[in-house]
């Protein structure tokens, strides 16, 4: 247990991001904020009932990742939405014009920013990406102790290799200075304490009425029966706030580096 706690403390410097909400990424696909905003309304009217607020409610069709199993190009997505998928609940949306469907795609491309129904178009100062990169890998921040960039880091913390394609600058800034403001599903940490008082923290992978499944210390899978526990429940993410660690300029440099990370992982 002590070993685990030490490991967690070492990782604390940055179990970065994957909190927060907002939309409007769009740099890669050249969608105007107005397209995304329009798409948001159309998504809400036509898609939300099944796919949910954050696009992640349909198993096997998680829209919040920015990747689509049946389509990669935007035109493929437009066709899929308009024609549907036979014999599934994905019914044809022939009521949507091409322009409307394109707006939904614009929104879907922005959806990975999370909390898609809280628009966050706040202007954020973008600093120097090279300086941000140096900060990311520095002992000052220790971001890279936890977070990989297309590899590296640990499994309890999200890899940031494509973070620039899936977050707005505003949400990146928020995640650095106020990471607990919202933690998304898939990034939530959980603590179990057994009847002897032993405690294990980990990333919550799954739970039901009777059991809980974690990715725990040493990047090991662990399952617990709730009836054998003294207590269990969610705990705050170990991602610390850098509000008092970095200057505003350094935060903007870090944001610039994050935005530059737009490489699809295999």
């Amino acid at each position: 247990m002590q070993k685990y706690l030490r490991l967690v403390l070492r990782c604390i410097p940055c179990s970065l991001l994957f909190a927060l909400c907002s939309l409007s990424f769009a740099q890669e696909h050249s969608y105007a904020p107005s397209d995304i905003e329009n798409g948001r309304g159309l998504y809400q009217a036509n898609c939300l009932g099944c796919h949910g607020n954050d696009g992640d409610l349909v198993e096997g069709a998680n829209l919040s990742t920015g990747r689509f199993r049946r389509a990669s190009a935007d035109e493929d997505l437009i066709r899929l939405i308009r024609e549907g998928i036979p014999n599934t609940l994905m019914i044809p949306k022939t009521n949507l014009s091409y322009g409307d469907t394109r707006a939904i795609v614009a929104f879907l491309r922005a959806l990975p920013t999370g909390g898609a129904f809280v628009a966050d178009n706040r202007e954020v100062v973008i600093g120097d990406a090279a300086r941000g990169e140096a900060l990311f890998f520095s002992n000052q921040t220790q971001c890279s102790v936890c977070h990989g960039v297309n590899g590296g880091g640990n499994l309890l913390s999200p890899d940031l290799g494509n973070i620039g394609a899936t977050r707005t600058s505003a949400s990146l800034e928020d995640a650095i200075i106020d990471p607990l403001s919202e933690v998304r599903r898939g990034q939530r940490f959980y603590r179990v304490t057994d009847l002897e008082g032993n405690t294990v923290n980990g990333l919550l992978l799954n739970q039901d009425t009777h059991s809980v499944q974690l990715l725990r210390e040493g990047e090991r899978l662990a399952a617990f029966l709730k009836e054998e526990l003294e207590s269990h429940g969610f705990i705050p993410s170990p991602m610390p706030s850098y509000l008092d660690v970095l200057s505003p300029d350094e935060v903007s440099d870090l944001v610039a580096f994050m935005i530059s990370l737009q490489q699809e992982q295999p």
């Binding site: 809400q44 036509n46 939300l48 949910g52 609940l89 019914i91 939530r188 039901d208």
Partner: protein, 554 residues
């Protein structure tokens, strides 16, 4: 002479055999359906019997031996495009034969002891079929030697229960406009009664009776009345156009009181779902229970649970009928745990409102007026309105149970959920969804996720025991995910139910204590039922794409 003797013997044998042949050839008579509660070894109607109590008098499985339950057999639905859908059907069991429907319209007859198949009838729906909420079917009806099934492309199929061969298929309503049949039909006398889903597509709903022999339509009750029909005045748009696409789906099988000669049906939402500006008025008979004369389809009374609904609070729950001393007076009541979060007790002879008590967190109403009409507190707005319960509601089509032994109602419940309802413009296009802006949902509406990483405040499920005398919650069996499972209660004071997590439970009907559970590895989205063969009791439940049957260890 020998020949004459031979003929005589054969004739005599034929005559002797006649009664049993006659019995076989009319396997299920209307009288057997009327007295279904007197043959608990069978399950002859969707709700167990006409009162939809889903209570069995079988008592071999008890609180003392429930932990000896074991799996007896499994049937897996392998119909094309069926395995990914919810398995919502409640089976029928008739004299050792189990009949059920795998999604979408895959009918089977199975040996109820071994799980071996007698026959399979795989109906292939038209590509025109369109459904908001799953290519599903909730069950069959039986009359004589015929089974009746509604199809997702708006047809009614009559099958020979011995061969699985179709006898006729009739058109009920056009699928290209969103009409679909997902409910189990109801047989009363020689009529088969159904109604269509499709309230999300701008249908105009109805309940209709068809002759079991010819398929001829005998009567039709429009759940959205037209000019000249009672209730039309509740559609107040000056253009008088809204009623034509006013919704009023029928998702759930009705109940029947033979003594009162009334059949009771819940009606679904008005269309469009989440923006009622185009349909001012109460929008009868949406979100209502209607009491109809089964001989004529004429309405005797109605009660509207959610007037002018804009939250999709379908009244698609089973009308549970019970005779009880209610607050000191012998009454024929109807118990109704509604999607809108309120548990109701009505007098089913008159429709009188007797009781309305929330059974989950509710904020859309502040109480009831003297006539039992809800006093509305909140409406969807253009800015968005936080309303409890959420769009999927406090409960839904999954059937509750009432036990005359404990005198408690057992309700599968979604606790403390909410949606933000935002009003947006809606345009009707034939055959397309006609709903408005989907409210926010923290939970999967239809439930297919095997992973649950949600916070507790995003919604929990429970089986709740409610006292019909006052609406109080007597006990609550909590689950960390919501449930689409129905409930079965037994004479031996057990309650069987499950949830999305795939756990199937036997609970103490008096306390809610868990006595036994099995993990079935798939979402439970159907109602458990029970039957017996040679004195041995079985309990059946579907989960994922499989039908699982349990009995006590041999």
């Amino acid at each position: 002479m020998k020949r004459i003797i031979h003929i005589f013997v054969c004739t005599l044998g034929f005559i002797i055999c006649l009664p049993s042949f006659a019995q076989i050839s009319t396997q299920i008579s209307p009288e057997r359906l009327l007295n279904a509660d007197q043959e608990p070894e069978n399950w002859l109607l969707y709700g167990g019997d006409y009162d939809s109590q889903r209570h069995t008098d079988l008592d071999e499985i008890t609180r003392e031996n429930a932990d000896e339950l074991e799996l007896k057999w499994v049937w897996q639905n392998r119909a094309r495009d069926g395995a990914e859908q919810k398995f919502e059907a409640t089976p029928l069991v008739v004299d050792g034969i189990l009949y059920t429907v795998g999604a979408p319209n895959n009918v089977v007859a199975i040996d109820a002891i071994t799980g071996r198949l007698f026959w399979i009838y795989n109906y292939v729906p038209s590509l025109e079929a369109r459904l908001c909420c799953g290519r599903v079917n909730r069950g069959l009806a039986i009359h004589g030697n015929s089974l009746f099934m509604g199809t997702i492309d708006g047809k009614l199929v009559k099958l020979d229960s011995r061969s699985g061969d179709p006898e006729w298929i009739i058109d009920i309503a056009p699928p290209e406009f969103g009409y679909a049949l997902t409910l189990a039909p109801l047989i009363i006398d020689n009529k088969v009664i159904v109604g269509p889903a499709g309230g999300e597509y701008g249908i105009r709903g109805f309940i209709a009776a068809y002759d079991v022999d010819s398929g001829e339509e005998l009567w039709r009750f429009n759940t959205v009345p037209g000019p000249g029909e009672p209730g039309f005045e509740s559609w107040e748009d000056p253009e008088q156009e809204a009623w034509k696409i006013g919704g009023g789906s029928i998702w759930q099988t009705g109940s029947y009181d033979a003594e009162l000669n009334l059949t009771y049906w819940g009606v679904g939402n008005p269309g469009p779902d989440w923006n009622g500006d185009s349909r001012p008025g109460d929008n009868l008979y949406t979100e209502s229970v209607v009491a109809l004369n089964p001989d004529t389809g004429e309405i005797a009374w109605h009660y509207q649970f959610t007037p002018h609904d804009e939250m999709d609070y379908d009244a698609t729950q089973a009308a549970v009928l019970a005779d009880m001393v209610w607050q000191g007076e012998e009454r024929k009541v109807m118990l109704w745990a509604n999607r809108n979060g309120v548990f109701y007790v009505l007098d089913r002879a008159t429709g009188e409102f007797l009781l309305g008590e929330p059974f989950v967190s509710v904020n859309w109403l502040s109480g009831f007026d003297d006539n039992g009409r809800p006093i509305r507190a909140l409406y969807p707005t253009e800015e968005g309105t936080f309303i409890m319960p959420n769009n999927q509601g406090a409960t839904n089509w999954f059937a509750p149970s009432y036990s005359p032994v404990t005198e408690l109602m057992y309700v599968p419940s979604w606790l403390d959920t909410f949606s933000v309802y935002t009003k947006r413009p809606v345009v009707y296009t034939p055959g397309q969804q006609y709903v408005g802006a989907f409210p926010t949902m923290a939970l999967p509406a239809l439930g297919v996720n095997a992973v649950n990483q949600r916070l507790p405040e995003e919604g929990l499920g429970a089986i709740q025991a409610i006292n019909p005398q006052n609406g109080e919650i007597v006990w609550r069996h909590m689950m960390s995910n919501v449930t689409d499972s129905g409930v079965l209660s037994t004479a031996s004071n057990l309650v069987f139910a499950g949830g999305r997590e795939g756990h199937f439970y036997a609970l103490d009907a008096e306390t809610g204590e868990e006595l036994w559970r099995a993990s079935l590895g798939g979402q439970i989205a159907s109602g458990p039922m029970s039957y017996a063969i040679d004195g041995k009791q079985y309990v059946a439940i579907s989960a994922g794409a499989g039908l699982f049957v349990f009995g006590l260890r041999d």
